[in-house]
């Protein structure tokens, strides 16, 4: 399983993204980290180029609905909708369902234990 952990938008808080990346790597995933301030298009291009199974978006600025939609749409447009999208960060409870409606497979709000994230991603199908 290969995962791209990505920071879309302008948010510069990368503690959570890096911690999750480390945890996934320790759990046996192959992990790529995008670095900060990537556009949805850049993230999708990297996901396809790296041939990942999952894209994990980390957003703490409140712009998660818009950014997740952009990434999901761009994956569809690139015929890569089988890459699963998951989202973590500061996600108010009311937005969890809205993200899932957009096609996000899992939402991991602040406070989600790392083993829970690892377990959920292990269940995702490999492409």
């Amino acid at each position: 399983m290969k995962v791209l952990i990505a920071k879309p938008g302008l948010d510069g808080h990368d503690r959570g993204a890096k911690v999750v990346a480390h945890a996934l790597r320790d759990a046996g995933f192959e992990v790529v980290y995008s670095g900060l301030k990537r556009t949805p298009e850049e993230i999708v291009a990297e996901a396809i180029q790296e041939d990942v199974d999952v894209v994990g978006l980390s957003v703490l600025s409140g712009a998660h609905l818009l950014l997740a939609r952009r990434v999901v749409d761009a994956l569809r447009a690139q015929d890569a909708a089988d890459i699963a999208v998951v989202v973590g960060g500061i996600i108010p409870p009311r937005d969890v369902e809205a993200l899932k409606q957009l096609g996000v497979r899992h939402v991991f709000p602040m406070g989600t234990p790392l083993p829970e994230i690892v377990k959920a991603l292990k269940k995702e199908p490999q492409r």
Partner: protein, 531 residues
Amino acid sequence: MKEINAHAGFPIAPVYGPEDVAGVDFARDIGRPGEYPYTRGIHKHMYRERVWTMRQYVGFGTPGETNARFKYLMAHGQDALNVAFDLPTQLGLDSDDPKAEGEVGRVGMAVDTLADMEEAFAGIPLDRVSVSLTINGMAAPITAMYYAVAEKQGVAADRVVTTPQNDILKEFIARGTWIYPVDPSLRLVADLIEFSARQYPRSNPVSVCGYHIREAGCTTAQEMAYGLAIAAAYVELMLARGMAVDDFAPRISFNFTAWGKIFEEVAKFRAGRRLYARMLRERFRAANPKSWMFRSLIGGGGSAFAVQEPENNIVRGAYIALAAALSGAQTMALPTYDEAYTIPSSKAQLIALRTMQICAEESGAADTVDPLAGSYYVEALTSAMEKQIEQELASVERMGGIVEAVRSGAIQAEVARQAYLFEQKVLSGEIPRVAVNCHVGEAAAEADRDVELYAFDEKAHAAQLAKLARIRAQRDGAAVQAALRRVGDAARGRENLMYPILEAVKAYASLGEIAQAMREVFGEHKEAVKL
């Protein structure tokens, strides 16, 4: 017996006694409050003369909405402001920039032109209220706007008290709002310090932040060490420009966090003050005692708080306030209990302000200076922290110094490594967190749903766009273009950028336009992505 370690890494003994402080020389290491090396605090009588400034971090939506929240907090006894800007503003993008979509007014207020800063501070007397501006990559133009607003209010330059954060090195390490490559970014920091030192003598043109690096995951000792290393880098930058240390060092300020173990935090600040005083006096040869003083905002950190049973965060905030008071804070700010969910509601902000006021007025923590001095434990801990901070400073040197460590990404990687270690300790239970990894109750899930959350006003973006369009239509376009050309010319040369930036700001050039004029010359920073 269970082994217990400080967050800095060294073990904590179950009992301390005289033998643990045998190496401490009272006159050399501790001294009296208000005297070198300021271990006990930078003022003789501390809070008996003036309690800490209370300065909640506030800003959201439009400048008008933020202005109303400022006035709400001031009406409840907050005596100073700390402005939060949205991400487009922090990154030099106008609200109508396609990259700004979805982020306008989200994590702070949107600022496009001087008109926004005028609105944000309307009815707030800038000769009487001190204002922190949490702005870094764009510190020069935003502070220029602030100076211009003060001037329009008729406030004399020597009455303006503002603290732009202006600490770009910690942005490269932790907070991520960098724009330009390291060297031109440092030049902007220095331009603002130099300009302010000459024109605005009561301004604090840099606030060196260990805070965000700790929030990103480093240890207590690293927080202080990295902060001291960054401060030293700025001092060297100004000395290289030919300024005398005592011409700018008295206005250097700090921003640190105090969450975690109360006594360790107190020891961190006591050791930090001592190390900073020695560094400025012995290494940089500062002669003015004000140059030796580590003046700090001490506050919370959202990472102290938990998403589970969020009301418990109010209690955690009270302990942070106590730690900050016992640490000798000049200014205090607390995170709000709802921060793991969204930006603060006005109710949560008021509770945070009340927490600080209760600490100041009711708890007795402000009754006497440095009340923990002389405790076997706290003095031993202060010495242990000092040693640990010195070791961390040495490791920064091994990375090639703080600027090189930032450029290579080595320090970012170390902070991320520590963040992961911390998380593992929370998972193992070595670092206990109530209702997170111990005493987990069934009520948790219910309580989470009951938090009253701030709701983002989607209309804020449209209002901001309309205002920007109106300003662009009304201003003198030729004057704006001429001013922007001068910003570009200055960026290519060595002139202090604050002068042409101030001119551009007063012509109502937008922040995005000013940022772009410099971007064309400086280029953009390329992050060294390391895990």
